[in-house]
Symmetry: C2
Subunit: 411 residues, 2 copies
Amino acid sequence: MALIVQKFGGTSVGSTERIEQVAAKIKQFRADGHDIVVVVSAMSGETNRLLALAQQITEKPSKREMDVMVSTGEQVTIALLSMALIKQGVPAVSFTGAQIPLVTDSEFSKARILSIDESKVRAQLQAGKVVVVAGFQGVDEQGNITTLGRGGSDTTAVALAAALKADECQIYTDVDGVYTTDPRVVPQAKRLEQITFEEMLEMASLGSKILQIRAVEFAGKYNVPLRVLHSFQEGAGTLITLDDEDSMEQPVISGIAFSRDEAKLTIRGVPDTPGVAFKILGPVSAANIEIDMIVQNVAKDNTTDFTFTVNHLDYDKALEVLNSVATSIGAREVAGTTNIAKVSIVGVGMRSHAGVASCMFEALAKENINIQMISTSEIKVSVVVEEKYLELAVRALHTAFDLDAPTKKAE
Amino acid sequence: MALIVQKFGGTSVGSTERIEQVAAKIKQFRADGHDIVVVVSAMSGETNRLLALAQQITEKPSKREMDVMVSTGEQVTIALLSMALIKQGVPAVSFTGAQIPLVTDSEFSKARILSIDESKVRAQLQAGKVVVVAGFQGVDEQGNITTLGRGGSDTTAVALAAALKADECQIYTDVDGVYTTDPRVVPQAKRLEQITFEEMLEMASLGSKILQIRAVEFAGKYNVPLRVLHSFQEGAGTLITLDDEDSMEQPVISGIAFSRDEAKLTIRGVPDTPGVAFKILGPVSAANIEIDMIVQNVAKDNTTDFTFTVNHLDYDKALEVLNSVATSIGAREVAGTTNIAKVSIVGVGMRSHAGVASCMFEALAKENINIQMISTSEIKVSVVVEEKYLELAVRALHTAFDLDAPTKKAE
């Protein structure tokens, strides 16, 4: 008998048939003796329908009113799912974010959770009910309706699980777990039984889009065991938990993440004076451009080269900023390209294993893949390569780090 | 400078274009220096769309969850109208029923208003904003979302006007006011400048469907001046207020209402003993059938005839009940027909004028219309006639009581 928070996204509740399937699934869990809190998103398509209505009126709708409007999407789903549960003989009750209340700050469209009063939810659980909660939404201290922004429903589920001290938070998606890498690139990629929060964060931020970073951070902070599962297939999914330090079985590398969404900018012949990094990157940040990797070469002839990556959508803006910076600091030239990709190996095991980076570089060298930039963290090594080598690099690393499944997927 | 509560129904906000038109109208009112609170319904069609979703899941949806779901309809409208106002340069803010809060009892789908906290609305008005409120919905004392049932948005508007002590509550509809009778039956029918709450109640309950009875009752109880206007046409509409006793201009009759939705039942040869009326009508009421007019003839040979009317939808059920009653009390026979209509003259002026009823009977006699039943109240005389005479009766009375407009409508 456990307390489980389950989250079903928009596709899983995209039609009344699917909502009835979800209800049947929940009924089964309850029959197994579990207490269930369910967090749902708006039915797929509903949020876009509402956004289109607003766009017919104005291109710049009031953010407060947008939140009033789009929060109705989840409100419809909680009602429908509760009806479906009740019809199947499962006592159920729905709560909007405001009814919980799930209190947030007042940053409409991207509010942050401040606190959750779990008492109403707990009372309904004790009364034998499944509690169905609207994801993605909350209420600020003045009573205004807020939404949590992208991935908000995952965050709602994790935050509720933390507040309720739930035994597990299950995120139902359209994949059956977290894989060692994207199976579309490496067919031998295998599902991970378990992964740490830290690893998942690196995987997520590096382009694996199963879970929102924010939800994983939250789960890690409050140590909420998080499980990713397929909505309509059987299977144990992938459990995301704290690092199990006792485990000797820990593989060195858990997975390989990659991203095509990067662009690289280089400023050459920068006078090598103190504070130059700030002079270059300050204006870029001021233009609201997020910087990812940064590499500064050793100075030569009192000048240095400075390279960094940004999201490719910010490339043109960054180039513009950098050109003006180059003039003001007397740099020689600015160059850049979007023709790159980032490949990263991720694993908490590398903390206790030397030579992981060199093993990576060796595998890439064997395939004659030139490394343009390198960046490392405690549990990750990232390299930038020319974009055309991306798939080759991922496959080579997947094999080099023994991640290939023993047999091709025939299960 | 006045404080005005305006209510726009589903058709008036049925598309984003119409919402923008409503916003422009409100902007004009504000430019005239008024403080405006707007109550809106769900966009027409939206409530049905939601009901259809629920019906796909279950024929008997949980009433609590139905209210959670259908209340989203108005929530979308308040957001869109607020956006439209802001776009047109009018500061605006929306409130759901729960945000006000408009507190109701817990009778889901037909909740009654218990109290309104007008402080948030007033604060926003003082901050120079138009306040846009979701009609039809409230919240119970436990924080559950409730809806007010049919005509709920009118009631919300009147209740808010009462709580705010507004100068006027304006109900925008698809007609330009209250008429002396249905212009489809009497082309010379004219718009009334003014009518009393009592008269409006009689008109409404007798089949004139412009305003919900509940809203008129509420307005009368709290003395909220109520005005019915056309959403998209200019005009002063009809003002519904307390009886102006000083007015000498008061016409004897304000209007003529009629209804085809009646059925008549007669039980003949009833032993004339005390309590016989209850023995007959008790079982009818117990079967949840509403009784309208009742006539009992003078007893003859120790038996009497007893006739009453019900809604024609209840006719079969009422007949069944009455047959069983007839057996048990030893009545001679039961008869009935749905082939009737009720015509009523309504006017507070008849209080101070004798002979109104006889004037009515004379007008009908002139047209050879036989009167089957008569019922009177302080400000109304109703007669039941054979259905085929309905239009003729209404036209004859409209002329007899000088209600015809001086010229045919050529405006």
